[in-house]
Amino acid sequence: MSRVPYHELKARERIAAICDRGSFNEILPPPERVMSVFLPELGIPVSFDDGLIIGRASLNGSPVYLAAQVGQFVGGSVGEVHSAKLVGLIESAARDKIPFVMLIESGGVRLHEGSSGEIGIAESMRAVFACRTLGVATIAVIGSDIGAYGGMGIFSACCGSRVMTEHGRLGVSGPIVIEKWMGKQAFDSSDRALIWKTSGGKTRYLLGDADVLVDDSTDAVRAGIISLLGQPAPVTLGSVSADQQRLEARLVQFGKTTNPDDIWTASGVTDIAAASLASGGEFANSYPKKSSAQ
């Protein structure tokens, strides 16, 4: 009997499956009713947690501050309350020197709350970098249906490390936006195979944007997070100088192609069909992480 994959679970189910059994202690739980004031004005139902569940938990006995977005609720989008809960949690992590882990499932800023969500994401980025400077691990988990896009795509990349599954996608502009901008000939947003090749976990892993690529299961995601808890990834002049070279080289090598297979081939993937079908864990075993792909 097969088990329900990570990407299909709801945020609360993910939390329950990933944390040490019964260890999650929710901050501002549903009865507190900390909810959006914008949505009712627009005739949109509110949610008790405003689409972000936050709390303290333990993973393999180590304490973490954990946040999980609810993708079903307005696309996991980030509004005023949602971002304020997030900033508070990241600042708690900085204060207590406890790793911050976030299960991302968001298309970015909640349009219905306008600029307040945008500022909230900017505040979250400040808070995340403050953690990194302090040597506190910040880990983004990207494996949901919606993925991490818009401001939350950038936020995810600001975290010290990323766990991805083959189902996760990381980007700024989503497929429909790109199709609208570039035309259907240039990018067909109904071609899911192309979308996943472009922004999916495997391509991100080969390029070094995902630190760990794991199976689409809560056990594998949990193990992936645990493997990164001890890696705070502070930003230093040395680290960003190396990144500058790496990202310049990437742009030179692949900036003229539109075909993700070029990246796969250059990374040593010979049987693209088989690699496409492989699970995240199988893929990572076949193509172990070098220091960085490029």
Binding site: M1, S2, R3, V4, P5, E8, E166, H167, S190, D191, R192, A193, L194, I195, W196, G200, K202, A273, A274, S276, L277
Partner: protein, 547 residues
């Protein structure tokens, strides 16, 4: 005696061929000359058959036909009005009468044509009804068809999607009609010959491959917990109860859920080898786990399915395949098999009324009938017995003069459609008067309440076949219609009485607990799991790939 029938049709065909011989090299016509060819071969008053069902389309020929301006007075016969080019034929005023089966993809456009007086309907048919009339009073003078390959002599290879091509070609070719085929490519040697050159007059290599819809692919990821619940109830309450050996499934998510529960829940119930051995169904990707687990003996299909070519070829024990090793289908024979040779039809619909009639119409769209009524009805001509057929027959109408058996005709619906639209209604969607008159008094009913033996919803299972009166049937329908307005009118006492007689069963009566109903029970969670089950032989279309 001058008016006595002789061979006028044959001489007329010779004249048509002579008119266009200069366009062709043997039977091969360059695609640039297609419009010219059609314009000269087709004559006013012709019965013209254009191939196009719910999957395969002679779309290049349709496009070229629609580009003609002077063509008039055509009697169009075709199974599905699917493409904008089909609609264009009417807009241009070419058609004096149309006889067809199904128009859902263009349902709104067709209703508009009708309102504008541009859609002269002869009748709306089921598939086999229309194919049968090709041999009686709707025999085509010209048929425009699609094939995968032709050789230089004009033999055709139809690939996995034989579909309705033979049903069109045979009556046309054997009545001195003209058969024109678009093909994806012309080759020296065909893998196998499906249509002999003898029955083909012209072959055109189209500039693009014919259109094929992946109609039967259902992504397991979109199956809901509620559909799993319904599938569990179906397996216990119908499949196991009647020990159904041979069956047909529709294309909905409910039946996909059943297919995916066979290797898991079905196995747990010990049903393997006892049910679901013989299928009349297209090569559904969601059947791969059941096939790989040894549940299925044979599958015969009315058409192919995009991406299932390698899998079906590699499982020739299960599927019908040609000498070349590749998949073979046949729509009329499949429909006939679905009518006479299977014990159960399982379908779904958008609306069910209080008499159990179901329909896929929605307001102001012309949808038509297609194939479901050929299979979702009682085959009164059936004589061979089976356990399931006899059991359903005993429940239905024991008495002198009655048919001893009954096919299980099962309708599975959720009580509400998306957007909280109730499935159950007092009467089927009132049609626009122009549509009603175009139907010539035939109600737009896909499956008649009289034919339905079982109605299954997430609320419960109603054995309509065992109801004794129309009133009882309505009460049984209300009992499983949940919180729809139709359901809210039920009487608790009536429901209790029906439940006591086993005519209405709720999940707990069937030993199914809604708390257990979970997607985790499915043998495959998504398309990728299906590919894995197939050992990499299934090649899903790219719109279904999310990895």
């Amino acid at each position: 005696m001058a008016d006595a029938p002789s061979d006028t049709r044959r001489r007329n065909k010779a004249a048509r061929i002579a008119r266009v011989q200069s366009l062709a090299n043997g039977k091969i016509v360059p695609h640039e000359k297609t419009a010219d060819l059609l314009g000269q071969v087709i004559e006013p008053g012709d019965i013209l058959c254009l191939e196009g069902d719910n999957q395969k389309q002679a779309d290049f020929l349709a496009n070229q036909l629609a580009s003609l301006d002077s063509l008039r007075d055509i009697h169009l016969v075709m199974s599905c009005i699917t493409l904008p080019d089909h609609v264009a034929l009417f807009k241009k005023g070419m058609v004096k009468q149309v006889d067809f089966c199904y128009a859902a993809p263009q349902g709104t456009a067709v209703a508009e044509l009708l309102a504008a007086g541009q859609f002269p309907i002869g009748a709306i048919h089921t598939y086999n009804e229309l194919y049968a009339r090709y041999y009686i009073d709707l025999t085509p003078r010209v048929a425009l068809i699609a094939a995968v390959q032709a050789d230089r002599a004009g033999n055709l290879f139809l690939g996995a999607n034989t579909e309705e091509t033979p049903a069109i070609v045979e009556p046309t070719a054997f009545s001195d009609g003209v058969v024109i085929a678009q093909v994806n490519e012309i080759v020296d040697t065909l893998p196998r010959v499906d249509i002999p050159a003898d029955q083909v007059d012209f072959v055109i290599q189209a500039p693009y491959p014919f259109h094929l819809t992946a109609l039967f692919t259902r992504d397991p990821a979109a199956i809901t917990d509620v559909q799993v619940l319904i599938a569990m109830m179906a397996l216990r309450g119908i499949y196991a109860e009647y020990e159904v050996q041979s069956l047909n499934h529709g294309i909905g998510f409910n039946t996909a859920a059943i297919e995916l529960l066979l290797p898991t829940y079905g196995e747990e119930l010990g049903l393997k080898g006892k049910i679901c051995k013989y299928w009349m169904v297209n090569p559904l990707p969601t059947m791969i786990p059941a096939i790989e687990s040894g549940w299925v003996d044979t599958v015969f299909s009315v058409g192919g399915e995009v991406g299932m070519e390698r899998y079906t070829a590699a499982r020739s024990d299960i599927y019908f395949t040609g000498r070349d090793g590749s998949f073979h289908s046949n729509r009329p024979m499949g429909q006939l098999a679905g009518h006479y040779a299977v014990d159960m039809f399982v379908g779904a619909s958008l609306q069910v009324d209080i008499h159990g009639n179901s329909s896929t119409v929605s307001k102001n769209r012309i949808t038509g009938f297609g194939g479901a009524p050929n299979m979702g009805c009682q085959p009164a001509g059936r004589r061979h017995p089976s356990k399931a057929w006899l059991k359903a027959g005993r429940e239905a109408n024991p008495g002198p003069g009655s048919i001893p058996g009954r096919k299980l005709v099962v309708q599975i619906v959720e009580t509400f459609q998306a957007g909280r639209v109730p499935t159950f209604v007092d009467s089927l969607d009132a049609q626009d008067p122009s549509i009603m008159s175009a139907m010539q008094g035939v109600p737009p009913i896909m499956i008649y309440g009289d034919d339905v033996t079982h109605l299954l919803t997430e609320e419960g299972l109603a054995n309509l076949g065992a109801c004794r009166t129309p009133e009882e049937r309505t009460a049984a329908i209300r009992a499983v219609a949940g919180y729809t307005p139709v359901g809210l009118q039920r009487s608790a006492a009536e429901t209790a009485a029906l439940r006591a007689r086993g005519i209405v069963k709720f999940p707990e009566d069937l030993g199914v607990s809604p708390a257990q109903a979970n997607r985790g029970l499915l043998a495959a969670q998504d398309i990728k799991d299906l590919v894995r089950w197939s050992g990499g032989l299934y090649d899903p279309p790219s719109q279904f790939i999310d990895w």
